[in-house]
Amino acid sequence: MLKRLGLFFFSLLLLVSFSSKSFAVSKKSYIIAGTTDKITSLDPAKAYEYFSDNILQNIMGGLVKYIPGTTKIVPDMAESWKISKDGKVYTFKLKKGLVFSNGDPIDAKVYEYSMKRVIKLKQNPAFLLADVVKDVKALDKYTLQITLKYPYSPFISILAFTISYPVDPKVYPADKVYNGLPVSCGPYMVKKLVRGQEIELVRNPKYYGKKAKTPTILIKIYREANNLYMALKGGEIELAYRTLLPQQLEQIQKDKNFKTYIGDSPFIREIVFNAKSKQFSNPRLREALSYAVNRAQIAKEIFKGQVNPLYTLIPAGMWGHKDVMPHYNINKAVAKLKALGYTKAKPLSITLWYSPSHYGSTESDVALMIKNQFEKTGLVKCNVKYAEWATYVDYWTKGVMGMFLLGWYPDYFDPDDYMWPFLETSASPGMGSFYSNKSMDKLLIKARAVSSVKERTKLYYKVQEMMVKEAPYIPLFQGQQQVVAKPNIKGILMDPVQIFRYYLLSK
């Protein structure tokens, strides 16, 4: 009986494993993508991490948009706009006949409602509007007027971000985050969302712009890079975007069945020093340590060359970027540490913190490698500690950690977003550095008010040069965007703003 039963199970196994590999992925009508990212919320008022925002960028639109593949901002739902002389009042003329996917109209009142709602709900990204917007008013059905608290030249970039997208007032409650299926106003709409498993996008027939190229996009959500890799190799998905392990990407680049697309990403990583902490209040010590960090080794050995060493906070490729920080030089690091009085017998004892899962599974490797690099000087004893993300956030805002790893993904594509939050006195506690310098603040405010890019570039050069002397951060590297896809998938665009446009995909 046991034998018979065993045979039964074995044949069942065979049946199951060989039958029906035939689900219909070959049809042209859809593309199946995969990711390890997670969705928190698809309400523009709350969404504030890459994947949720990226989905919104495919199912919604705003007053303005970036031309795909560039950083140039052009009108989207707006027909045109005017900025007052003092830089405080923005007046938009909206296109006519715009509707949501459910047929409800999109007009200036809708925008007024949406922006006021964001500010009122006070969710995570709300500060982007709340900090600068004084008032939003629909002057008539097609005219929207936004008044700022002070002249703020990057504001137009914020209007291109998901936070400024319009929502249907009939569906999205004014006082609550909306959790249902989103009402779309972009190329796609969400047909099905099974959290932690998959999200299905279908063409929005009521979209005013160019129709999405492929009727259906299915994005499978995987827990880990491994699962994503497996699904890709096994033919379950045709495209993988965010995030394979460096080793996996390296391997798949050699695989002729797949095509790999690499582009720059505005994502940066850095070590933060808490300038208020006793141990790291001395800029000379921070400088000495920055000489000990070998970014090339991190990029090569952990990331297999898939990130680029970065020597300032503004990423390469963005205007204002200037390579200012000291490069790896262990002799200088040793000399400077010795000058500070540290010896082999009496080494500097420090702790480096990291958060294990927030930046992917390579994070502990990064921390360990930096620890080893510090210790290579022979004058440092470096501990490594970690905390889960929530505790980590708590620790840095409370100034518990003296030195820790952090990353930055821009909210709007402007050097201001890489300088102000890091270096301005009121903003830097949010970054955990508590750095404060009055002349620095003056420069930063000035750079916000000026609208000429040339002028601003000069100002940011100054800011970065000043930053080198104080070294409150050690920038580490700049990320890449990597997409792996079957060769027949077309329309993959490596966007400098890193908006992945599913609606351009086809096969």
Binding site: M1, L2, L5, L13, V16, S17, S19, S20, F23, A24, I32, K38, T40, S41, D43, K46, Y48, K122, Q123, N124, A126, F127, V177, N179, K192, V194, R195, G196, Q197, E198, L218, K220, Y222, R223, E224, N226, N227, M230, A231, G234, E236, I237, P356, S357, H358, A387, E388, W389, A390, T391, V393, D394, Y395, W396, T397, P421, A427, G430, M431, G432
Partner: protein, 336 residues
């Protein structure tokens, strides 16, 4: 005592258990560092917003008040709202639960099948090769870390042989059209979609077998010793004397009479199964409550973490009540 009264007693007795687990977790979570508001709003949030949020969530009240409020909410099935997704926790849990249930259900089936067959045969062939195999098996398998065993199966059947998918619950477009129970194998059949059913089974095999085998070590042992006991009893001798076939003796008489204690142990092992399910879900990216719990821990999503644990406690309580009731129903001596 009547069965109804027994059931009532049993249900009432499980309330303190849930309450105690809930209390422990509540206080452990609150006493320790980490600010859920900051985690939710990000470090850029202005202090007044943080305070407003704290006020809105009642986190500025004394911890005892928070506790009582939480209890009163739980009592009416309000598990709070996730700070990570803003969705009602209960809704999220109910969505994840079928996956966990499906996994544990099939793992249990695997474990019970292995346990009953191997255990019974081992007892029947007491001292012979089968028996020695069964004993070595149960000791060895007991020492397997679930996650390690899962990885090994992934390696062999997924990576090397490419027979089975190594993760997830379904292939693309293979989620059953209409969800009735949330258990894909059942829903697929209800939908009449055999393709989806096969896909669901394929995804289930590795995780269910992993967990099932690891748990089966205990079943093999229990079934073996209980069947041994009942094989040596008088009714078995009597049955043999009547000329009943050996197969019938074994499965009808010996096994049947060994069943109540085995059932009890099954109930007890359920806790172990659930703990194993968390690790299995992680290993196989199975989108159940275990995975949910682990993910939310890093976001310090208090309501979600508490919710998941209370849910587990409920689940354990319900299962143990069921087992006790079934046992009481089978064997009236158990009621007292």
């Amino acid at each position: 005592m009547k069965l109804k009264a027994y059931i009532l007693t049993r249900i009432l007795l499980s309330i303190p258990m849930i309450l105690i687990i809930l209390t422990i977790v509540f206080f452990v979570l609150r006493v320790l560092p980490g600010n859920p508001i900051l985690a939710m709003l990000g470090p850029k949030a202005p202090p007044e917003v943080v305070h407003a949020m704290e006020h809105q969530m009642g986190l500025d009240k004394p911890i005892i008040i928070q506790y009582l409020v939480y209890l009163s909410h739980i009592a009416v099935g309000n598990f709070g709202t996730s700070t990570y997704t803003s969705l009602p926790v209960l809704q999220e849990l109910l969505q994840k639960f079928p996956a966990t249930f499906e996994l544990t259900l099939y793992s249990m089936v695997v474990a019970v099948l292995i346990g009953i067959f191997l255990g019974t045969y081992a007892a029947y062939n007491f001292g012979k090769t089968t028996d020695v195999f069964a004993r070595v098996y149960s000791i060895f398998v007991y020492s397997f870390p679930v996650f390690w065993f899962g990885i090994m199966l992934q390696l062999v059947f997924g990576v090397w042989l490419h027979w089975l998918p190594v993760s997830g619950r379904s292939a693309p477009f293979m989620i059953p059209e209409h969800i009735y129970t949330g258990i894909y194998t059942i829903d697929a059949l209800l939908n009449g979609n055999f393709e989806v059913f096969i896909d669901a089974v394929k995804h289930l095999i590795l995780p269910a077998v992993t967990l099932g085998i690891v748990i089966s070590s205990i079943f093999v042992r229990m079934v073996r010793s209980n069947v041994l006991l009942s094989l040596s009893s008088q009714y078995v001798t009597a049955a043999r004397a009547r000329g009943t076939t050996e197969k019938k003796v074994l499965f009808k008489h010996a096994l049947k009479n060994a069943m109540p204690p085995i059932l009890t142990i099954m109930g007890l092992q359920f806790a172990l199964l659930l703990a194993g399910a968390i690790l299995t879900e992680t290993t196989f990216s199975w989108p159940g409550i275990g995975n949910y719990l682990i993910t939310r821990i890093s976001y310090r999503d208090f309501p979600a973490i508490q919710g998941a644990i209370v849910f587990f406690a409920f689940f354990v309580a319900v299962i143990s009540i069921l087992v006790d009731i079934i046992n009481a129903w089978i064997d009236p001596r158990i009621r007292y």
